[in-house]
């Protein structure tokens, strides 16, 4: 692995300018997408890690979207598995948006912004809730109504606060 280290060092030495330009471009991109702390987006401004938001409601399953079928809404890019899903989404985006900006629902209840796993989801009363992982989901489901009620009260408070600030 020494070779790999030296290789890495070499690459970083030889191309610091390129790296800086790439980072700057990504940052600008994120700004352009309006990366607000209220939405759980990945580094490219994609919501739901590229999963199809409509598929959760129509097929009751997590399905990866295709980058060729995408739509912008509220500063986030959504991918869709099928064009009719995109059409449905664009008609009424609010119906399909993940709740709490796509953050872990249980985390929001305790005032945290944790990444919501698009594979670990639950639809309650027509709203899409994502969870950190299956362990958290189990915990969350144990007292569903109370957790949702508390999270609904907490979310407006932490909505605009970045995740790292919450942990300080």
């Amino acid at each position: 692995m020494h070779r790999s280290h030296s290789k890495t060092a070499e690459i970083t030495r030889t191309a610091p300018l390129i790296a800086a330009i790439v980072f700057a471009a990504l940052f600008c991109c994120a700004q352009a997408f309006g990366a607000s702390p209220a939405l759980n987006l990945n580094e490219n401004g994609i919501a739901l890690h590229g999963y199809d938001p409509v598929s959760y409601f129509t097929n009751q399953q997590a399905e990866r979207g295709r980058s060729s079928i995408s739509a912008e809404y509220n500063g986030a890019t959504y991918y869709f598995a099928e064009k009719k899903n995109r059409d449905a989404f664009l008609q009424e985006p609010r119906l399909y948006e993940p709740h709490y900006g796509g953050y872990c629902a249980y985390g929001v209840a305790v005032g945290q912004k944790f990444n919501g796993d698009p594979e670990v989801f639950m639809i309650v009363e027509g709203k899409l809730y994502l969870q950190l992982d299956r362990a958290t989901q189990t915990l969350w489901k144990a007292d569903l109504d109370k957790n949702i009620a508390i999270a609904d009260r907490t979310w407006p408070v932490i909505r605009q606060i970045p995740a790292n600030v919450l942990n300080d």
């Binding site: 290789k7 890495t8 209840a109 950190l132 508390i150 300080d168």
Partner: protein
């Protein structure tokens, strides 16, 4: 390997790889090694970054989950539950350290040393607890992960990939060697062996190799060149031998001609000296006259020899071009007969011409054939004894060969001389004396004249006695044969005394 023996003697002083396969592999293997090393390095780098990214994601999820699970326990101050959760977390081998701090920063539980919060694989997360109305912060969870295990896994993977690559390289090298040996080294070795053998011994050995590729074409081209060279060398050898023989025979001929000229010259010089100095006194005029006759005879012979040598030289030099035209056999025989009348001969010798059934026409040069028959008759007339006879016969064998035969009733020709008589002056000198005068030159001339007509001269001693010399002409020379029924018109015949033969009484001339 099989190509080792040729290069083995060189290994002590300087390593020279003579085998194509070895030279190829000494380049092929390092290049592939370098490419392979670069590829492994690139893959290792990418895989390392991927592993680190996976580890970071895993750490994020882990620290978030554990902070959620720890919330109630920390709020309630239940150290047993905190310990359980810490133990559960630490069960993951990737986790290096974990520390649970309360709201004031005091350590509630930990495993390993407290990691600094800004390490590369360290996460610090607030532990919040859900109150009845809102959440409150009850502590902090700090987890760090070690990359050692991930690196170790990656190293193993790279190691096995490298092993696989080396195995593949060895297999490729062996395969390349075998294929090269079968398609390139073997034919090259064979060529090399053939070339060495040719260089050392001069023997042309065709290379036993057949393939449709370029090497096969080179081998077949080489074989063709060798074949052509062999042929050329054989031709050269043959031509050289021929030239050498021709030169030798020419030298011999010149030597014999000079010898031939010296004898009559000696006579002329000797007799003329006697006569001019009157060695036997002034009164013996008869003796001197006899010597003058001798001088004249020697000078004539000299002239004869020189003329014949001149003829022979012309004929051999190709200066005489035969002109073939259809000629009646009767015409040829008649001319020969007429010419024979003026030739010198012994007393009472008769010439008998045996005419054939009229109607034979030959495609020959009449002048040359007459000259040939004249020489044969001249020899025969000299050879025939007093009151002897000479027969000139034309006949056609059942096989179609036409022959003119001149037969005299003198002595037979010694067997050992028959063959040599056809070479100028090759026969023994005795043959030329007296009756055989000039035969040593005239018969070779006849031979050349016969060969101009694709024919031959045959010398035999027939059982009836005497000697017979025949001109044999191939069937293709006969352009017309008489009708099967005998008897022709009067005009075609000669003035024979008998229907089939004419006898001429020749009178001795001076």
């Amino acid at each position: 390997m099989t190509n080792a023996p040729p290069s083995a003697p060189n290994t002590t002083n300087r390593v020279r790889l003579t085998s194509i396969s070895a030279r190829y592999l000494t380049r092929f293997v390092p290049i592939i090694m370098i490419i392979f090393t670069v590829m492994i390095s690139l893959y290792g780098t990418v895989a390392y970054h991927q592993a680190m990214a996976n580890l970071a994601t895993k750490l994020d999820t882990l620290v978030a989950r554990q902070s959620l699970l720890l919330g109630e326990a920390v709020a309630d101050g239940r150290n047993d539950r905190i310990g359980l959760l810490v133990a559960q977390t630490i069960a993951d081998r990737d986790v290096a350290t974990i520390a649970v701090l309360d709201a004031e920063g005091a350590t509630l539980n930990r495993y390993g040393s407290l990691p600094s919060a800004d390490g590369p694989l360290t996460r610090s997360v607030a532990i919040n607890h859900m109150g009845p109305n809102s959440y409150q912060r009850v502590g902090t969870l700090v987890v760090s992960m070690s990359e050692e295990l991930a690196v170790e896994r990656l190293t193993y993977t790279l190691f096995y990939i490298a092993l696989l690559g080396i195995a593949l390289l060895v297999a490729a090298a062996v395969a390349a060697h075998l294929v090269l040996r079968a398609t390139v080294s073997q034919p090259l070795d064979k060529m090399l062996t053939a070339i060495r053998i040719q260089r050392d011994s001069g023997a042309h050995i065709p290379i036993d190799w057949d393939s449709p590729d370029q090497i096969g074409q080179v081998v077949s081209a080489y074989n063709a060149l060798q074949l052509r060279q062999t042929k050329t060398e054989n031709d050269l050898t043959r031509l050289h031998n021929k030239a050498a023989r021709a030169h030798q025979s020419k030298s011999d001929f010149v030597g014999r001609v000079i010898e031939e000229l010296r004898t009559p010259l000696n006579s002329i010089v000797g007799f003329s000296e006697i006569v001019s100095s009157q060695r036997f006194g002034p009164d013996t005029i008869h003796r001197y006259l006899s010597y003058a006759g001798n001088i004249n005879q020697a000078a004539r012979h000299l002239l004869y020899v020189i003329e014949n040598v001149l003829d022979l030289t012309k004929l051999e030099g190709g200066e005489v071009e035969p002109v073939f035209a259809p000629v009646k056999v009767e015409m040829l025989l008649r001319r020969a007969e007429t010419a024979a009348a003026t030739l010198p001969h012994n007393k009472g010798v008769r010439l008998i011409v045996n005419a054939p059934a009229p109607g034979f026409i030959l495609n020959v040069d009449a002048g040359l054939i007459n000259s040939l028959l004249g020489k044969l008759l001249e020899n025969a007339l000299r050879h025939a004894p007093d009151d002897g006879r000479v027969e000139l016969t034309f006949s056609v064998s059942p096989g179609g060969t036409a022959s003119f035969t001149v037969h005299d009733n003198g002595d037979g020709i010694p067997e050992k001389e028959i063959e040599r008589l056809l070479t100028p002056f090759a026969a023994s000198r005795d043959m030329d004396e007296g009756r055989y005068h000039g035969i040593r030159l005239s018969l070779p001339i006849c031979k050349i004249l016969a060969e101009m007509h694709s024919g031959t001269i045959e010398i035999t001693n027939p059982p009836a006695g005497g000697a017979a010399v025949s001109l044999l002409l191939p069937p293709s020379r006969i352009t017309e044969s008489p009708a099967p029924s005998p008897g022709g018109d009067e005009n075609s015949g000669t003035d024979h005394r008998a229907p089939r033969a004419s006898v001429q009484y020749l009178h001795r001339t001076a």
